[in-house]
Amino acid sequence: MYATVRKEIPKDDYYLLKSCQAGSWYPSIETSLRYVLTTMGANYLDDPRQSSCAGCANHIGVIPFLPIVALNARNMSLASHSGHRNIVCNCPTCYSNLKDCKIILDGDSPMRDRAMAAVEKAGIEYNDSVTINHVAEAFLANLERLQSLAKYSLRGLRAVTHHGCHYTKIYYKEVASGNFERPTLLDRVVEGFGAKVVDYPERSLCCGLGFHHIMLYPDYTQAVTRRKYSGIVEANPDLLVTMCAGCTLSLDMCQEKVLRELGVEKDIPVLNISELIALLLGADPYKMVGIDLHGVPIEPLLKKIGIPGARE
């Protein structure tokens, strides 16, 4: 197995890098994340000046990399100047995309020169002394604090995890726990709240989103989610935990059709790690966590955990 580089995950002073995918499909991920960071007393900045990182358009293949580098030189400068130097992304694509940009900006290339000329023209004082993290890493770094604040536990429940490919497979030597073939970042956080994390075949398979594929090549999404769920149902989990809005969209919204086609009548609630922790810390399931944005109803899971207020 490839060596995984040990890394120090910063525990505080976070710059919240919001995801346009989360904001578009599951703003519940964002409201939950704010709730968790606020409840744990983190010193964080939710900055309206931040722009989208444009990473998803890079993967779709509809934007050259140069404007992306310029946009993120600005985002990193905002974080750096704000004093909240530890960027936390709730989207794995933002995480890897920012890392790609930082490498170009710290290097020496014609692309860097052109991006910096644009940054100068826009009157931006460039500074990228930042760290780039995913929020799940921040949760792991603060696990004891979160455990002490939890009002509910996952004891007695079986969970499966799906780590976003853009977290594990791009900077594959920098997975905070486990390794890229067998990441255990989400596992350790979920186990910290008492769940038993169970293994399943095709753990590291894509979620099926493929960005534009879900719209233009639904055959891809259908085939991949079918393969993914064929493995997941073998583990018979009570919930599926994700760390990416795109993975959540594909695995949540496509689940009903895929499971029925596989002859499985049960539902497997899909929650993003921020939503799950917000619920465990006592956030209102509807007004804060927005569980009704999910395709698979979350109410049966609330009952299993013992969280009151589930609507019938």
Partner: protein
């Protein structure tokens, strides 16, 4: 098929500042072992697509056939190929660079250029890439209960304090949007 867009004349080439393609990308290290194709969920499904084959043709300089063909659009960008490559190449990165070139030359992908137009408008108008109406799930992927719940999402996002048409809760300040427009203009994306 004719394109509704003004396309560039050949010879087809990838922008030289794009280091994901060409000798400086490490692309020439590929030894055709095929770990990428064995790992690839898209290669399993689409008979015309194999990341190993894309790498072979790229190394041989067959850029035109790659850019003018449809294979490069099959990749789902999971990056399993990059993680598993024993020589640290990134077929997915090579494909990203080829897709950008294809937008300038390939007449058969107006639907991708429409997505490009949408992203350009979103970034220039509100500094976002994806908005709630940018990606709409096709009915064929959704079960009957999910369809109903998915249709209610505009109402439910409003209850969380988000607008139906915007992916951010708080609008970007005007002076910041003005700076972003300069960045996009100076990097030829406006």
């Amino acid at each position: 098929m004719a394109s509704r867009y003004d396309l560039e004349e050949g010879p087809v080439k990838v922008d030289p500042i794009d280091e994901r393609f060409g000798p400086s990308s490490g692309m020439m290290r590929c030894m055709q072992c095929g770990k990428c194709s064995a790992s690839c969920p898209a290669a399993l499904l689409f008979e015309d697509f194999s990341p190993r084959d894309v790498m072979l043709r790229a190394m041989k300089g067959e850029i035109e056939s790659l850019v003018m063909g449809m294979e490069i659009w099959r990749c789902g960008q999971c990056l399993s190929c990059a993680a598993r490559c024993p020589r640290d190449c990134s077929p997915a990165g090579v494909i990203q660079a080829l897709r950008i070139a294809a937008l300038r030359y390939n007449p058969d992908i107006d639907y991708m250029r429409q997505i490009e137009d949408g992203v350009k408008a979103n970034l220039n108008e509100c500094a976002q890439t994806i908005l709630p109406n940018t990606l709409v799930l096709p009915n064929e992927l959704l079960g009957p209960r999910t369809r109903k719940r998915y249709r209610a999402s505009a109402k439910n996002r409003k209850a969380l304090g988000y607008r139906a048409e915007d992916s951010r809760r708080v609008e970007i300040p005007e002076e910041d949007l003005a700076r972003i427009k300069i960045l996009l203009k100076e990097t030829d994306f406006s």
